[in-house]
Assembly symmetry: C2
Homo-oligomer: 236 residues x 2
DNA sequence: CCACAATTTTGGAGTGACTGCAAGTTGGGT
DNA sequence: ACCCAACTTGCAGTCACTCCAAAATTGTGG
């Protein structure tokens, strides 16, 4: 098991294919590059490409396994006094500091984001991956709180948290793509992370509540702009 | 514009193609039916099929426009005193009563769900549709509360609500597919809708909080089973 | 009823992802 | 050196989907 020549070659080949592919995709766009071209660039046959990667999309998106492992760790290793939401918020803010690839803050993320956004196939695969990661996080949470298999709450919590981070990442990419500077985007993200995670914690129950009594005949049903999410959930 | 012969024929053709397609898909599964077969069954050429439907998946899933309109209505027509979450909960419970198709409670929904679940292409398209519907709901909410275009909260609220209903539908389909009776599933759904929407309202902030002091050396970090989500959001 | 234009349908010839198979080629153990 | 297993390759084929130009159909004005 000393890492034979065979194993090394396999790893190298896989790597070479993946690198050539991502390079071409980033340069010319996903749909503008054929698998045959990738194969030629990596100096292998088309069949070999499909031997290593199940689909063309996987050539660009094959971090799913890593993601699942990392997220499992976040849930498992949360600190004393931390809820699951707390743990993910901390991780998100840390990632913001370190320019982690997961949330799309790293160098060149705008290009990557643009390539994904422009290809329906890649967008679809991204969603599917997110779904699977969600299921994985839900399982991790369920295991941690030792929940009944019938209990749906872990899934809900996972879904809520991941939609929050996904939302933040998406806006980050959009802003960077629109030409905003990394500094500005980071500041904005830090602020919005506070808002959104706060909303997550305290609940969205009151959002957009329509007033019981129509005001003075002025506007129909406007909301206060500043603090329209209150803690009261009682319904009359 | 008296509904000429031409328009009627077009509508009929489209309908015929769609019906034949869904029939075949439900009977034999999405991947086991080719577009050519659908075309033959509908007595048109393959090109005509693609003339009416952009992709094979759209032959099975073309309610998106309806969905968006309905959801817009739910947001717009919420009653006095109702928050957005309230409005969607009410709609969900109503749908449960009426066997509405949107959440997969109608007759034959298990078959439909199985067909979708078995095809990666259909699953992917479903996710993409859900994403677009989400964006639409977010826009509706933003418009209703007259939010700043920069404000991300409407998107978060939309995402949260729709993941809740989606979660409920998914479990409903799974249970029906597993052979549970409609009655049982409905009862379960009604109960879970209460739990999940409640969690949405009051926030998931405390979920899975790890205790500050490890208990007595018994188990490591278990949670109370009944009410592990409290209203306190303060972090120590 | 007859051109004539607009629209729809169709056939045919691609392209590109992906599969299955049979025939090489290569690495590792004997 | 020899063999087996794993890996690679070429080839033929399927299927979704596109582009284009030639019918076929429908609506319109004389």
């Amino acid at each position: 098991m000393e890492e034979g020549l065979r194993e090394r070659k396999k790893r190298e080949t896989r790597r070479r294919i993946s690198d050539m592919a991502t390079g071409l995709f980033l340069m010319r766009g996903f749909d503008q590059v054929t698998v045959a071209e990738v194969a030629r660039a990596a100096d292998v046959s088309v069949n070999t490409v499909f031997n290593y990667f199940g689909t063309k999309e996987d050539l660009f998106l094959d971090r799913q396994a890593d993601l699942e492992e990392i997220y499992r760790g976040i849930v498992r290793d949360r600190r004393p006094g931390e809820s699951v939401v707390d743990a993910f918020r901390r991780d998100f803010l840390d990632a913001l500091d370190t320019g982690d690839w997961r949330y799309g803050f790293h160098e060149g993320a705008e290009v990557w984001g643009r390539v994904v956004a422009e290809s329906t196939a890649l967008r679809a695969r991204t969603l599917e991956i997110e779904r699977q990661v969600m299921a994985c996080v839900a399982a991790a949470i369920a295991e941690e709180v030792d929940a009944d298999p019938e209990d749906v709450r872990p899934e809900l919590v996972a879904e809520q948290i991941l939609s929050t981070t996904r939302l933040l990442s998406r806006h980050a990419l959009r802003r960077r793509a629109a030409g905003e500077s990394p500094r500005e985007t980071e500041a904005w993200l830090r602020e919005q992370a506070g808002v959104l995670f706060g909303l997550l914690e305290s609940g969205v129950g009151g959002y957009g509540r329509r007033p019981l009594v129509v005001a003075e005949d002025g506007e129909a049903a406007g909301d206060e702009e500043d603090d329209d999410v209150e803690g009261d959930h009682g319904r009359p």
